[in-house]
Amino acid sequence: MTPTYYLLLSALLFSIGAVGVLVRRNAIVVFMCIELMLNAVNLSLVTFARINADIDGQVMAFFVMVVAAAEVVVGLAIIMAIFRTRRSASIDDTNLLKY
């Protein structure tokens, strides 16, 4: 099976994630969409590793997973802090800073 399909799938997942970040209103869902984007990149990396017959891409996918995990820790802490203040995780409510 040709690896190009995996690249197309990865691009599709990345686009779904990017659109999700732009249209969804819940901070947790926005954050999940960002994770979807990172994992779409992982799919690309391992596919390119297969195409290039090179192991580097697979190792990079592990790096990305670790970074994504660290990002979850920091991100959920920040979202929790603001949820406890406002009792809502909607990013439309956080509108004190503008213009």
């Binding site: 960002i34 690309s44 090179d54 990079m60 802090a81």
Partner: protein, 523 residues
Amino acid sequence: MNPFLAQQLQPVDAPGIDWGAILPMVIVFGAACVGVLVEAFVPKHQRWSGQVVLTLGSIAAAGIALGAYVSGRPSHGVLTMAGTLSIDTPALFLWGTLLALSVAAVLMIADRSVEPGGSFVAQAGIAPGTVQDRAQVQSTGMQTEVFPLALFALGGMMAFTAANDLLTMFIALEVLSLPLYLMCGLARRRRLLSQEAAVKYFLLGAFASAFFLYGLAMLYGYAGSVRLADIATASAGTDRSDTLLFAGFGLLMVGLLFKGSVGPFHTWTPDVYQGAPTPVTAFMAACTKVAAFGGILRVLTVAFEATSWEWRGVMWAVAIISMAIGAVLGLTQTDLKRMIAYSSIAHAGFLLIGTMALTDEGLSGTLFYLLAYGFTTLATFGVISLVRDSSGEATHLSAWAGLAKRSPLLAGVFTFLLLALAGIPLTSGFIGKFVVFSAALSDGMAPLVVIALVFSAVAAFFYLRVVVLMYFSEPAPDGPTVSVPGAFTTASIALGVIVTLLLGILPAFALDWAGAGGFALGG
């Protein structure tokens, strides 16, 4: 045979590490880890002093290690850690800049004289608006985790400016960003604004780093390697897919330009600069800008020099948009911190002109501009933190009316810094703009330089508006007071002002150092 298995059969050699070259970075990261242990094991009342000594001591030690290495360094730079870090002249210059700037920033973070207990929250877990929150505002405690976080961010910035492959760059980007997201949300007062700034910075920052990462994957597919030199080799005349190359370049640049708060990717900048505690804003405005443009310089020069004709038009547009947004929207601001944020967007446009030049003059000019701009903007935020009323900092422009009558010294210092941001002669801002624009001019970007000069003039208007407001308006009867800063904030403002003045009068020393050598290109 399966290609992956074939690779595993080869013996693995441990990469050589040039400890002398990376010692400054190792010291900073080591001290950050020790700082975390201090948080865990030292009693609460001793933590502040312990952390301040540890943080400033480690930055000083890193500076000494850097100085000792610079005097005997090889002139072409070294590649170490299996070629993932390139310790060359620009990297060493940026390390020195980052260490010097972070000394001033840490002094501001540590200051407890302007606001009793410092500008950081006593307990980050307390919800804003509650009884406990009103108690913590009055208390003198402080969340001292800020110091190790600042050191981690500094270490990430140092790794970012020396990273010689995209994966190292991505890891360094996250190591510098994640602590900053947290530091933004730790203000003692106006905690809703502070937390909102943290959420916005985090979500947008993670979004941008996903773009950076997808660009990395595209370039890996294109070149079969994420090493910057390999990408350059691959793009110099092959029949590979240009789609992958330029899609990768574009996505990568979105992530990098976001960190540098350039042009259309600036939307987080005003909100985060306004909402974050002012010492953190100063740290971000100065150090993040230096790190981001150090990274952009290296990527453009080392990996994409051969394809510069293809991307230069797009970067022209980005630079123009950035200068226009910064200068025009800066005019409409009524909050001082937001105004300086828009000024930083305009400055990012000027810096981008220097990075596009891809000549030796462009490189040294941009490095000098970063040094000059960093100290000026740091001192600017230091001064802003001093003008206060009962609810904390008074950053609304109307509160600054007639300030010269109350505190001639503060108004004088602030005027000098604003003139430096505007680029008036005898300040470092003028020399910085001059070297960057002349490098761009000699590289055939005359129309862009003319546009940049027009926007400098527009931006000068909003700096001068503040000066006029301070000197020629009557002070409001219930206006803010000017705090007398303690030794720490005084030292950091004085450092910023002295460097701004010195680089304006005697720029040759720093210019020589900035122009002492180019990037190490070897793979």
